[in-house]
C-alpha cells in the first residue's frame, strides 16, 4: 500500500506500527489463500485491488466524502438498513472484525467466553488499527445476541458516537411493531446526523441502489448452480464480504462484470474445480474479512462451496425491498417488511432458517452442509444440533464445526473436513 496513506492513518489516530503489522498479515493471508487458487475468473482482479486498498483508497474515498459533507455510518449487522442511510446521502460500512487482534487489551474488557467476532471488533478498536471505525460519524450497535448487546455497554466508553438499535426476538406482530418503531427512530437519528430530511424520492433512490447490489449478488449466486462451479466459494465469499465495505454502485457494476465472465465460463463448461467435485453449502455464523479459515480448509480438501447461508451471504442479501410505494410511510413499511424476514438465530423460534438451508441445498445442488458455529456464539450453536438432526433426517450429510479465529485447530479441522468430503464421494 502506498506511503501516502501514512498521514491519513496518523490523522485518524491509528497506531502505525501495529497497523503495518496487521496489513502485512492480511496481505500475506490473502496471497496464500486467494492468489494461490487456480482458474480464478479474471474479473476477480477488481477484488484483488479492493483488498489491496481496503485500508487505503477506500478510506481516502470515505474521508473525501466526509470533506464533501457526507456522513459515514458504521455497523456490525445486516439489520442496519442501508436504504435509510443512503437516502440521507450518507455511507454505510461494515466495521472491522474477522481476526484476533490486541487480545491482551481485549481480555481486560471482555470476559473469556466471548465469541471471536465481538472480541475482534474490540481488538481493532482498542488496538487502533481500524480506519473504518475511526472514520465513522456514527456507530450503530444492535441488540442481537446477548454478547453483542452487553458488549455495546462497554464499547460506549470507547467511542463517542455509539447508537444502539433494539431488535425483536420473535416474529410476532409485537416484534414487528418493535422493529418499525426502531427503524423510525433510526431514520430520525440519521436525519439529525446528516441534516437531511428523508423524503419518498430519496428513500426510493436508496432502495434502488441497495436492491441493485442485492440483485448482482443474486445473479452471482445463481451462476454457482453450475457444475463445474465457475467460481470458488472463497471468491464468492469475498464478494459477499466486500458488499459491506465498497461503494455500492461500483460494487454492483463489478459483481455484474464477474457474472458476465462466469456466464461465458459456464457456456464453455469451464470451472474452478473439475465437474463432479463434491459441493458444500456453508451455513451458520457470518465470516468477515479475513476470516477465511474454514472455506479455505474446505476448498483445499477436495470440495467446492456453492453457497453461504450466512449474514455474509444469503441471509444478508436474500430479499429485495419492495419499491412500489409512493410515500415515506409506504416505503418505510416495505423496508421493515424486508428486514423482518431475516432469519437470524436470535429469533425464537426460527423455522425459516432451516427451510432456507434445505432450499439452498436443493437450489445449488449441494451434496452436504458444513455448519459453522463460532465458539461461544450461543444462538447459532444452539441451532446447530437441531439443524443437523433435521438435515440428516432428509438425508443431507451435515458436519458441525465449532471453531474460532485462531489457527491452532487447523490440522484437526482439516481431518474432519477431509473425512466429510470422503463420505460425500
Amino acid at each position: 500500500m502506498s506511503k501516502n496513506y501514512k498521514d491519513m492513518w496518523k490523522n485518524l489516530g491509528l497506531k502505525l506500527i501495529p497497523h503495518d503489522a496487521l496489513l502485512e498479515v492480511l496481505g500475506k493471508g490473502y496471497e496464500d489463500i486467494y492468489l494461490t487458487q487456480n482458474n480464478r475468473p479474471e474479473s476477480m482482479a477488481y477484488f484483488n485491488f479492493v483488498m489491496s486498498e481496503i485500508h487505503g483508497l477506500r478510506i481516502k474515498e470515505l474521508l473525501d466524502e466526509k470533506t464533501a459533507g457526507r456522513k459515514v455510518i458504521g455497523s456490525f449487522c445486516v439489520f442496519v438498513p442501508e436504504e435509510i442511510v443512503l437516502a440521507a446521502d450518507a455511507t454505510l460500512i461494515g466495521l472491522c472484525t474477522g481476526a484476533d487482534f490486541a487480545t491482551e487489551e481485549v481480555d481486560k474488557l471482555l470476559q473469556r467466553n466471548t465469541c471471536s467476532l465481538i472480541k475482534s471488533a474490540f481488538g481493532f478498536k482498542v488496538g487502533k488499527v481500524c480506519p473504518y471505525i475511526e472514520s465513522a460519524n456514527m456507530i450503530v450497535g444492535e441488540n442481537t445476541c446477548d454478547g453483542k448487546k452487553k458488549s455495546y455497554e462497554i464499547l460506549k466508553n470507547l467511542v463517542p458516537n455509539l447508537y444502539v438499535m433494539d431488535l425483536p426476538q420473535m416474529k410476532s406482530d409485537e416484534g414487528k411493531a418493535l422493529l418499525k418503531a426502531e427503524y423510525l427512530r433510526f431514520k430520525e437519528a440519521v436525519e439529525k446526523l446528516t441534516g437531511i430530511s428523508i423524503d419518498a424520492t430519496r428513500l426510493k433512490k436508496g432502495i434502488d441502489i441497495v436492491n441493485n447490489k442485492r440483485k448482482a449478488i443474486h445473479r452471482l449466486s445463481d451462476l454457482r448452480k453450475a457444475d463445474p462451479s465457475p467460481i470458488s466459494g472463497l471468491d464468492a465469499l469475498l464478494a459477499n464480504q466486500v458488499f459491506f465495505y465498497d461503494n455500492p454502485v461500483r460494487f454492483t457494476e463489478s459483481v455484474n462484470k464477474i457474472c458476465d465472465e462466469l456466464k461465458k465460463r459456464i457456456e464453455k463448461k469451464e470451472g474452478v474445480f473439475p465437474k463432479g467435485t463434491p459441493r458444500i453449502l456453508l451455513s451458520g455464523c457470518p465470516m468477515a474479512v479475513p476470516n477465511w479459515k474454514l472455506p479455505w480448509i474446505i476448498e483445499t480438501s477436495g470440495a467446492v462451496i456453492v453457497g453461504e447461508e450466512s449474514c455474509v451471504g444469503e441471509r444478508g442479501a436474500r430479499n429485495l425491498t419492495d419499491d412500489s410505494g409512493n410515500t415515506v410511510d409506504e416505503l418505510m413499511e416495505a423496508i421493515i417488511n424486508r428486514y423482518f424476514k431475516v432469519d437470524c438465530a436470535i429469533f425464537t423460534p426460527n423455522p425459516d432458517r432451516l427451510d432456507h438451508i434445505v432450499e439452498m441445498v436443493e437450489k445449488y445442488q449441494a451434496n452436504g452442509v458444513v455448519h459453522y458455529g463460532l465458539q461461544f456464539c450461543q444462538p447459532y450453536l444452539m441451532e446447530s444440533m437441531p439443524v443437523e438432526k433435521a438435515l440428516e433426517e432428509k438425508n443431507i450429510p451435515t458436519l458441525r464445526i465449532d471453531t474460532d479465529y485462531s489457527m491452532e485447530d487447523v490440522g484437526q479441522l482439516k481431518t474432519r473436513v477431509e473425512a466429510f468430503v470422503e463420505l460425500l464421494k
Binding site: D409, Q412, T415, R416, E418, A419, E422, L423
Partner: protein, 249 residues
Amino acid sequence: MRYAGIDIGSRTIELVVLRDGEIIESRQADSGFDPMTQAKDLLAGVEHDHIIATGYGRHLFELSFDALTVTEIKAYAVGVSALFPGVRTILDIGGQDSKAIAVNDKGKAIKFEMNDRCAAGTGKFMEIMANTLGYSIDEFGKEALKATKDIQISSMCTVFAESEVTSLLARGEKPQEIALGLHRSIVRRAVAMLKRVSIKEAIVFAGGVARNSCMHHLLEEALEKNILVPENPQAMGAFGAALLAGGIC
C-alpha cells in the same frame, strides 16, 4: 502386486503391506519428534507398488513421498469393515484424538464425531495419568481392573486431572482405584460421543487404547453390548489404507 498403507499417528506409526489380500508385513515405530525420518526407516527394505498414507502426518508424507492420502476416519472404516464385515459402529481412540464412526453395510463411513482440539480422553491422557500413578501404560488397565472401589474423577482436562489425581493420592486413595476412576471418566466421554453418532451393533473398538482391557470391559458394561476388538487394534488405519491402495489400480 504389493500394496502398503502407512498410518502416521501422533504417537506411533504403523505400516501394513498386503499381497493378494494377505498381510505380509506389519511394522510399528514411535512417531518421535521427526515422524518423516521414522516413516522412512520403517519403510526401509519394504517393497510395494502403491502406498497410501493416513493419520495426522499424512500430508507431510504426501509431500515427502508423493503418495496419495486418506483420512484416518476412512482408513479405519475400511480396515475394520474388512475384518468385521457386519460392523456398524467404530470407536477409535488413538494417541491424540478419539473418533466415533458410523459405517453402512458397504463399509463406508456415513457419519463421525471427533474430540475437540484437546487431548482429553485419548491415549496421551492415559499415558500421563498412568505416569502420575507410577504405572506403565500396559499396567494401567490391568491394575484398574483390580480395584474394589469406585472413585469419581471429574476433570477431563489433562492438567486438571493430573492435579486431581495428585490430591487423591495425598488423601490416601489407592492407585488402582484412582486408575479405575480415570478409565471410567474416559469411557463416559467415549460413550457420549458414540451416542451422538451410532451405537448400532456390531461395535468395534480400535486404535491404541483398545489394547487396554479395562477400557474394553467398561465400554461393554456402559453400553450393555458386546464390543469387538481386533487382534492388532492399532494397525487398523494402516490396514485400511493398504486395502485402499489395492483399490487404486
